[in-house]
């Protein structure tokens, strides 16, 4: 290729570099949610379909095949009916799944009348994210706001870190920024939950700053304390959301305190159907605490 054409293309590359630099500066100075929101509006339906298809294919993989002749004859007769019934079935399945999800949370709702819950489905998982954040199919239009806690029927999953009109990004408890107050439900001792990359790979959270005389032991249930902490989320999470079960108690590497390894109650790496707590008693105070402590990502 001639040198002249290389120079031309190099000039175009430099122009692109300048443009991208300006884009980075503008999104750093202002907000990228406008751009991201528009793109998510376009991509979310496709993400939903691809996630649903993947789940369906996995579920059907184990079914045994019927004979080809039987299938062909059945197919001929039912084609027209099947098309119409499938349309009704999609709506029915969606409503049924949502209803089953809500039933699981009925006990939680009865104990916490102040909770406003919104069912959501995991539609995407970013492979470029080192901590495995996920995307759900509910956004600001559905009442989701930043820092809303996200739970499953088993317990706490994480929090909403970014909101778009029709989808939201959820950061799980395995993220390095996940620091919040927790309490041993048996001994009532409090600590601060956090996570390291290594402990996340092993599937554990850490409950730090336990006293040397702690009575926390293996098998104890750990729940959110709802208390403010200096760094992290303040009172971001309401009280008594299940975090996990104590696996072991060990001495900290950096000081004289002890820490507990906690097995999360939720499968943080492969969540499917979740609930967003869009409102709870004390949420506005929790948001203020979070804002004054420096916020979170």
């Amino acid at each position: 290729m001639k040198k002249g054409s290389h120079k031309k293309s190099l000039g175009k590359l430099l122009m692109v570099c300048v443009l991208m630099g300006c884009l980075m500066l503008s999104t750093a100075a202002f907000s990228s949610s406008g751009f991201g929101g528009a793109v998510n509006l376009l991509l979310m339906p496709m993400q939903r379909v691809s996630a649903a298809l993947s789940e369906q294919i996995t579920a059907n993989a184990e079914e045994t095949a019927t004979s080809k002749e039987d299938l062909l004859s059945e197919n001929e007769g039912l084609k027209a009916q099947v098309n119409d019934l499938n349309r009704q079935l999609i709506n029915y399945d969606t409503l049924k799944r949502e209803n089953e999800e809500y039933k699981k949370y009925l006990g939680l709702k009865e104990e916490n009348q102040d909770y406003q819950l919104l069912a959501a489905e995991v539609i995407a998982k970013d492979p470029d994210d080192l901590y495995g954040s996920i995307t759900i199919d509910q956004g600001s239009r559905d009442g989701v706001s930043k820092n809303d806690p996200v739970i499953t029927d088993a317990g706490l999953l994480g929090w909403v870190s970014e909101v778009f009109p029709t989808s939201s990004r959820v950061t799980t408890l395995f993220h390095a920024d996940a620091k919040f107050g927790a309490r041993d439900s048996q001994t009532q001792e409090t600590g601060i939950m956090s996570c390291t990359v290594q402990s996340a790979d092993e599937g554990y959270l850490r409950m730090n700053y336990l006293d040397s005389t702690t009575k926390v032991q293996e098998g104890d249930l750990v729940v959110t304390s709802g208390l403010a902490v200096e760094s992290g989320f303040g009172g971001l999470f309401p009280r008594n959301l299940t975090v996990g079960t104590v696996k072991s108690v060990s001495r900290s590497e950096s000081d004289a305190s002890l820490y507990a390894l906690v097995q999360p109650a939720v499968d943080l790496k492969n969540p499917k159907d979740v609930m967003v707590i869009t409102n709870f008693a004390g949420k506005s105070a929790a948001d203020q605490n979070t804002a004054s402590s420096g916020g979170n990502s």
């Binding site: 290389h6 590359l13 630099g21 980075m24 999104t27 793109v39 496709m46 993947s54 970014e162 990359v197």
Partner: protein, 171 residues
């Protein structure tokens, strides 16, 4: 010739969009050493082998912007990195490299490695994370290798698109 270029551009665009959706489907690809493949990287590299510098750069830009929107980081970071990567791969492929599968795989490893290294530098090393070494060895390196595996089918796919959707005068 222009029509063939537009057709190829649309085909590449649809391919990138599909790969972007596929790489984000939960549970579609098994996690290997806590890592998932980033399909857009081998896609850009293999396209760059068959296109000139500017189209390859545009492909990198498009894929990078998709990844930026999905990750929630500053817009333009990945776009800039992959645009430069696409440009460089195309330049090297036209001047120095042979257009074959081995070159495509090695180029994917190189670009994926550079992108992972840059991510590590800014998210772990500079902030002074105590686990930066662990992250590099047990997360980013496996992800680079896992991603390079997909250069094989994507090389053949993009070679097919590049040769079929090209006007006779271009060949």
């Amino acid at each position: 010739m222009r029509r063939a270029g537009v057709l190829r551009g649309m085909a590449y665009g649809a391919e990138f969009l599909l790969l972007y959706l596929l790489q984000q489907v939960p549970g579609l690809f098994p996690e290997i050493s806590h890592s998932l493949p980033v399909l857009l990287i081998p896609a850009v590299v293999t396209v760059a082998f068959f296109e000139k510098e500017v189209p390859a750069m545009v492909c990198g830009l498009f894929c990078g912007l998709l990844m930026d929107f999905g990750s929630g980081s500053f817009l333009g970071v990945k776009a800039l990195e992959i645009a430069i990567g696409g440009y460089c791969v195309s330049f090297l492929a036209s001047e120095f490299l042979k257009t074959n599968l081995l070159s495509a795989v090695v180029s994917t490893l190189a670009l994926g490695g550079i992108l992972s290294f840059l991510q590590w530098i800014f998210t772990a090393f500079f902030p002074g994370s105590s686990e930066s070494g662990y992250l590099l060895l047990y997360h980013l390196l496996p992800r680079t290798l896992y991603t390079a595996v997909f250069a094989v089918p994507l090389y053949y796919l993009n070679r097919f698109l590049a040769t079929r959707l090209r006007a006779p005068a271009d060949t």
